[in-house]
């Protein structure tokens, strides 16, 4: 069947990686057969050099990347647990809280919570992160709370791809964010701004970004609900 000629011409413009290049004027096409060994050897050598190069650069950059990540997490935990001077990480291993991961397992495979302790060793609260669908994509939030009372201490949006100018107010609008600090009661409920009854669990949603606001509220509610029962059973401490 025939495509329209000009369409054909347009398509032919695209580089076809599978077709051999037409011989340039003056270039003698080389016809000697190349042994399979040579083909494999070329790729193997190329692969080895590539691998070496990557490993070298990785050795150099990995510590920098890890340090940055740890620093970001640290900052986030301290932001949502105001007053904390240090924190210990708890891992959810087989339904129980533990301060260590099983031998050979990677820490990143387990859900984590961070218990913040103040200067005098008193427990400030627990922080954890959770992600749920927002308006555009997944929203990732870290929040801090007191397990014994459910009081919300703070929250920080870690990742969000919500609509610029609307949904992204969940981290850009300071007034919205401030509502999540020292909230005396959870679970929270997102309500239209101005229509609240003044209940302590009410959060004023951002006008025009109801779904993004509700996502943040849902993340915190579900997150606290996930961790509270576990924490109430007892919080393991790291060996000194």
């Amino acid at each position: 069947m025939s495509e329209r000629p000009e369409k054909e011409a347009l398509e032919v413009q695209v580089v076809d990686p599978a077709a051999p290049p037409p011989p340039e004027a003056g270039e003698v096409p080389v016809d000697k057969p190349v042994s399979t060994f040579r083909l494999v050897a070329t790729l193997a050598v190329a692969g080895a050099v590539a691998g070496l190069l990557i490993v070298l650069v990785n050795l150099h950059t990995k510590p920098i990347i890890d340090k940055y990540r740890a620093e970001q997490l640290r900052l986030a935990v301290y932001e949502v647990l105001p007053g904390a001077a240090r924190y210990e990480t708890l891992y959810l291993v087989d339904g129980a809280l533990s301060t260590t991961v099983p031998d050979g397992a990677k820490a990143a495979d387990f859900r984590q919570a961070y218990v913040g302790y103040g200067e005098n060793g008193e427990r400030i609260g627990v922080a954890s992160s959770r992600g749920e669908s927002g308006f555009q994509d997944i929203v990732l939030v870290i929040f801090g709370f007191k397990p014994e009372s459910g009081v919300l201490l703070g929250m920080k949006v870690l990742e969000s791809k919500e609509t610029p100018g609307l949904g992204d107010k969940i981290f850009k609008d300071q007034a919205f964010v401030d509502q999540f600090f020292d909230r005396p009661q959870t679970p929270l409920s997102a309500i239209k701004a101005g229509s609240g009854k003044g209940l302590p669990g009410e959060i004023d949603a951002i006008t025009g970004a109801t779904i993004s606001s509700k996502a943040v509220v849902s993340i915190i509610n579900n997150g606290i609900a996930e961790w509270r029962p576990l924490l109430e059973q007892g919080i393991p401490r790291e060996a000194p």
Partner: protein
């Protein structure tokens, strides 16, 4: 494993975060595919097939082989994608030579198709498990097919209209794509 439900992964990949109209993947076939709905449909189906295979391979690679060498991810993924496309090309040539001719240059070009490589990368970044990955691939493929078919049918119809010369070709295609993308934005928030 990600927390997302299978349905939300599927629906999000197909519609809400359509691979072509929202994530800008798979644009080469999208821009250049003929204004024939037939071909667009076939291209889409070939994509779904390759995408699913890619998702499987990516999962296997991530779970068993790349665990200790995550920096080799890009290289191993592209090798896998290139090999898969090569194999699919050979298979299609053998069992459906007419289709092979129709798809022409676009079949080997799937190697550099952002959508296929992109799927492997997104799947890894979001930490999808085995089943989640498959559902993601099928949803993405269907979404791609949907976008391709929509574009092809619009172009089929627009061929009969009177379009100014400067707009013919890519300019118009991009504007149509933009309108489609706008339309698909209506799906956001459905989940």
């Amino acid at each position: 494993m990600s927390d997302q439900t299978l349905f939300s992964i599927f629906f999000s990949a197909m519609v809400v975060n359509n691979f072509t109209l929202a994530l800008f993947l798979g644009l080469c076939p999208f821009m250049g595919v003929s204004a024939r709905v037939e071909t667009a449909l076939r291209m889409g189906l070939a994509n779904i097939f390759v995408l699913t295979l890619t998702s499987l391979s990516a999962w296997v690679l991530n779970t068993y082989i790349l665990v200790n060498a995550p920096y080799l991810r890009i290289i191993s993924f592209i090798i896998v994608v290139a090999s898969l496309v090569q194999i699919v090309e050979m298979v299609v040539k053998k069992i459906a030579p007419v289709l092979f001719r129709q798809l022409g240059i676009f079949l080997p070009l799937m190697t550099t198709n952002c959508a296929i490589f992109g799927l492997a990368i997104f799947q890894t970044n979001r930490g999808y498990g085995f089943l989640q990955g498959i559902v993601f691939a099928v949803g993405a493929g269907l979404g791609l097919t949907l976008a391709l078919v929509l574009m092809a049918s619009i172009r089929e119809t627009s061929e009969l209209s009177d379009i100014p010369a400067i707009a013919k070709g890519t300019g118009l295609t991009l504007i149509i794509a933009g309108s489609l993308s706008l339309a698909f934005m209506g799906f956001a928030g459905l989940l």
